[in-house]
């Protein structure tokens, strides 16, 4: 659930900030009262926040599929001492549904541990354990694995690419894994989208957008899995989603069987964030239901179908851009299909009648070579891209705006945000996501001296 609003409109606001600071003097200043305990009410919980999910047949190893899930939006490379790590108290999940019922058939779960003195020394390297559940059988497929440290700079973390490469491990089931900091491969004109889906020029497909995620990092978990472990042998289509869980803590509900002597043992896990298709939490799910959606499983997504059927984004597009309309904002069976069950026409990744928000990947579609990838994916004629899985190169903002605009129901418009690719070249080998910017070399806030 990438939060498009908070924290990511910084660049646009700098000029306004200066103006505001200059004009807002005076006024009564005093402190808040404090005898009542004011715990925060709204939390972003960035270490539990799923930002993006990718699933594709590996172009360089077509007998494998790669799943990449990202967390922690807007990691500022120069934000020390607040260095970024996975949360040691959360559980990170990647789920695979092989039969289209919205329930996981294969689950990968990750638990991270901070190394001793991690917080005080600014050491961001963590160790982690991977467990895999197939059906009801759970096995530990990797333990004591290490993430690379964050990319601090050439003195703290020299030769970062080599350092990061040491973070690629083999799991006991033949899967390759990487977990650690990476460049945020998502690209989007967040500032303009937040500004009521403003399209900067014309219909937006002529460039000129600003990639607000350029220079920011995320934490990635990447898996490269032999296709033989995923393929169901019939429609060859898997549904993928990622999630984060935290432990419930309670006041009154003390558990008799709990480990702690005082009866306040560890509570069970509760899912606090999930992500299948991109932009769903931001664009489709209404505010009042966001917590519920994030705690739900795709198997129970029927209750949210109406918001896919009648997307608010189409209403907004109609209001803002009547000259490109009409935009149909009701009865959008095309959106229900493409996001909830997979595409039937053409028969690409349909998984059956169960409506479930998953990223669906037909493993039998051969991958497109890196230099031939079309970022518009299926609507651009490239069947190996979104919404058949999702590659790092896929321009999901443009695709989503066009599909919501009616691309699948005969209303094709070259809509978009004018940002068509990541600011960093993606790697052509696992883990594909480029290295993060270092705190030392970060590109943001670079200024020229005004005096000698």
């Amino acid at each position: 659930m990438r939060k498009l609003v908070l924290g990511l409109v910084l660049a646009a606001a700098v000029a306004a900030l200066i103006a505001v600071a200059a004009t807002r003097g005076g006024g009564p200043k005093a402190a808040s009262a404090s005898s009542h305990r004011e715990a925060p009410l709204i939390s972003q919980d960035p270490t539990a926040d799923n930002t993006d999910l990718y699933a594709f047949v590996s172009p360089d190893k077509p007998d494998t599929a790669t799943l990449i899930a990202n967390w922690i939006p807007g990691e500022d490379p120069a934000a020390g001492p607040n260095y970024y790590t996975f949360s040691s108290t959360a559980r990170y999940d990647i789920y695979v549904d092989q039969n289209g019922d919205g329930k996981p058939d294969i689950s990968y779960q990750f638990r991270f541990k901070n190394l001793p003195s991690q917080f005080f020394l600014g050491n961001t390297q963590q160790s982690y354990t991977v467990t895999k559940t197939v059906g009801k059988k759970t096995t530990t497929v990797g333990s004591g694995l290490l993430t690379p440290p964050d990319n601090i700079g050439p003195r703290s973390t020299p030769n970062y690419s080599a350092l990061a490469a040491q973070g690629i491990h083999q799991l006991s089931d033949g899967t390759t894994v990487f977990a650690g900091q990476r460049d945020d491969p998502f690209f989007a004109d967040v500032g303009a989208i937040f500004d009521l889906v403003a399209i900067r020029e014309g219909t937006g497909a002529t460039g000129g957008g600003k990639d607000f995620l350029a220079g920011y990092g995320v934490h990635s978990i990447a898996l490269q899995i032999p296709k033989s472990q995923l393929d169901n042998g019939t429609n060859h289509t898997i549904g993928v989603w990622a999630a984060t869980d935290r432990r419930v803590a309670a006041v009154t509900e003390r558990r008799k069987s709990a480990s702690a002597k005082d009866g306040y043992g560890n509570g069970g896990w509760r899912q606090v964030s999930r992500l299948g298709n991109p932009l769903i939490n931001e664009v489709i799910i209404p505010t009042n239901l966001k917590d519920k959606w994030n705690a739900s499983s795709p198997a129970n997504d029927k209750q949210f179908e109406t918001y896919y059927q009648n997307p608010i984004l189409a209403t907004v597009l109609q209001k803002l851009y009547p000259q490109f309309g009409p935009f149909q904002d009701t009865n959008r069976q095309d959106l229900v299909d493409v996001l909830g069950t997979g595409l039937k026409l053409p028969m690409l990744n349909f998984t059956g009648p169960t409506f479930a928000d998953e990223l669906r990947l037909n493993l039998s579609v051969p991958p497109t070579a890196f230099d031939k990838i079309k970022p518009l994916g299926v609507i651009g004629g490239d069947l190996a891209g979104y919404p058949n899985g999702r590659r790092l190169e896929d321009d999901v903002i443009d695709i989503s705006e066009r599909v919501v605009g009616g691309a699948l129901i005969g209303h094709s418009l070259p809509l978009g945000d004018g940002v068509d690719a990541n600011d960093q070249p993606n790697l052509h080998v696992f883990p594909y996501v480029p290295a993060p910017f270092s705190g030392f070399a970060n590109t943001k806030g670079v200024t020229s001296p005004t005096h000698p």
């Binding site: 200043k29 005093a30 808040s32 009154t252 306040y264 009042n288």
Partner: protein
């Protein structure tokens, strides 16, 4: 500069303050000393806020959006919440007034808007208007029973209204729905009130872990964890937490004040004064200005102590002008310092009606006792401990009332319990407890 802002603010706020407080306000601050109390904080820095580029930048971007689209409810919602967050970060209560106007505007455009309703509920909590907060929390719940935050508004309000079973149930609902820093912190506080300290520490550790990446929330949770350790006999781990909290946010008044409390307990009074001055230079919060005065008094500097005490009334007026109810806090300060005790009791009784919590019980008990009405105070003091809370100051008040009623042995026992939790629990009263404990 903060002092200029404060003085400028007083002019603007006075009229409203007089209206708000009626004729009840008697204390006269000494203007000659108020002017050089808050020397260093610069207006621009205060404006820039606590973590430059965080909330302030959001606020600016949202203001630009609203100039273009004044009816954008989402932007109004976000701006209202950002202004509330700015009070958390900077302590500047004028943002309460701004937030209220913005969220009311959002509600006028969209009467069933969840964010604006819950946001106004949170605002009412911040202003200690707990019945209003409860009504808003319930309205938010009717709009969205599956949003965890509305249980936070309801639970906080129930808690301050003294209805603990309901409050804890709300916190349990919240934490089961969405375990995160907000719900963990509330669960921790409830366990602390119940006297279940290791369990409270574990929940606050979870909160700190879930706050990673959010600077204010991180520093806040580590401060709270440190204060938990400090209040329960563990000053060294408390120091570790406060060092972390101050490292995370070196200008955060809440962490600086927490560090001052830890330094006080370690007997480092001058270090404590240094931290509390830094806190107060950022934000003149009444309790902190009061503690700074007490610290100066403790090291024998009566002039500096009086300067701080004189400022408190001024700050309280600004708070009142921004809608904050502080009767209990003022009563506690006055009772502690022997100021206008009859008036303090009036305030305590008035505050108790608004806030019949264990805090209300304790303040009313203490104010009654300081007015010589120890027998009337006793049941309130007993009520203040009814949850099993392990709180040195409440134990001390209970002991003081026992002594006042002639029960020296009972008093000594309560004093020993207070000192066992924290031998330096109060700059003003620890030594009184230490003397009384040996009878």
């Amino acid at each position: 500069m903060a002092r200029r802002l404060l003085i400028a603010g007083i002019a603007a706020a006075s009229a409203a303050a007089i209206l708000a407080l009626g004729g009840l306000w008697h204390r006269t601050p000494a203007p000659a000393t108020a002017s050089d109390v808050l020397p260093t904080a610069v207006a621009a820095e205060l404006q820039k806020g606590f973590a430059a580029g965080d909330t302030e930048a959001e606020v600016s971007g949202l203001q630009a959006e609203l100039r273009a689209n004044p009816k954008n409810v989402k932007a109004l919602d976000t701006l209202g919440l950002a202004d509330e967050q700015r009070v958390r970060e900077t302590g500047d209560a004028t943002y309460y007034t701004k937030a209220e106007g913005i969220l009311r505007e959002a509600l006028s455009l969209e009467p069933r808007d969840l964010i604006a309703t819950a946001g106004l509920g949170q605002l009412a909590l911040s202003r200690h208007r707990f019945r209003l907060a409860l009504a808003l929390g319930r309205r938010a719940h009717a709009i969205s029973p599956t949003t965890a935050g509305v249980y936070g508004v309801i639970g906080d309000a129930e808690l301050e209204l003294g209805r603990y079973a309901k409050a804890f149930k709300a916190f349990d609902r919240m934490a089961a729905m969405k375990p995160d820093v907000s719900s963990y912190a509330r669960v921790s506080y409830a366990r602390e009130l119940l006297g279940h300290i290791p369990a409270a520490e574990r929940a606050m550790s979870l909160a700190a872990s879930a706050a990673v990446g959010e600077r204010e929330a991180s520093s806040w949770t580590h401060t709270q964890l440190g204060l938990l350790y400090l209040g329960h006999g563990r000053p060294r781990p408390a120091l570790d937490q406060l060092e972390l909290a101050v490292d995370l946010a070196p200008t955060y008044y809440f962490a600086l004040d927490g560090m001052a409390q830890v330094q006080t307990s370690l007997g480092h009074l001058w270090e404590a004064i240094g931290y509390e001055r830094r806190a107060v230079d950022r934000v003149p919060l009444p309790q902190q200005v009061g503690l700074l005065g007490d610290l100066y008094r403790a090291v024998g500097d009566r002039v500096d102590a009086q300067r701080r005490y004189a400022l408190i009334g001024v700050i309280e007026r600004v708070l009142a002008a921004n809608g904050v109810k502080n009767d209990l806090d003022i009563a506690l300060f006055d009772a502690d310092h022997g100021i206008a005790l009859t008036h303090a009791l009036e305030l305590a009784r008035k505050g108790y009606v608004d806030r019949p919590s264990v805090f209300g019980d304790d303040v009313l008990a203490w104010t009654l006792a300081r007015n010589g009405q120890c027998r009337a105070g006793l049941p309130y003091s007993e009520r203040s401990l009814r949850l099993g809370t392990q709180d040195a100051l409440k134990f001390f008040h209970r002991g003081w009332i026992a002594a006042c009623l002639g029960d020296k042995r009972g008093a000594a026992e309560w004093y020993r319990r207070a000192l066992a939790l924290n031998p330096h629990f109060s700059v003003l009263w620890s030594s009184v407890a230490a003397k009384g404990a040996h009878r």
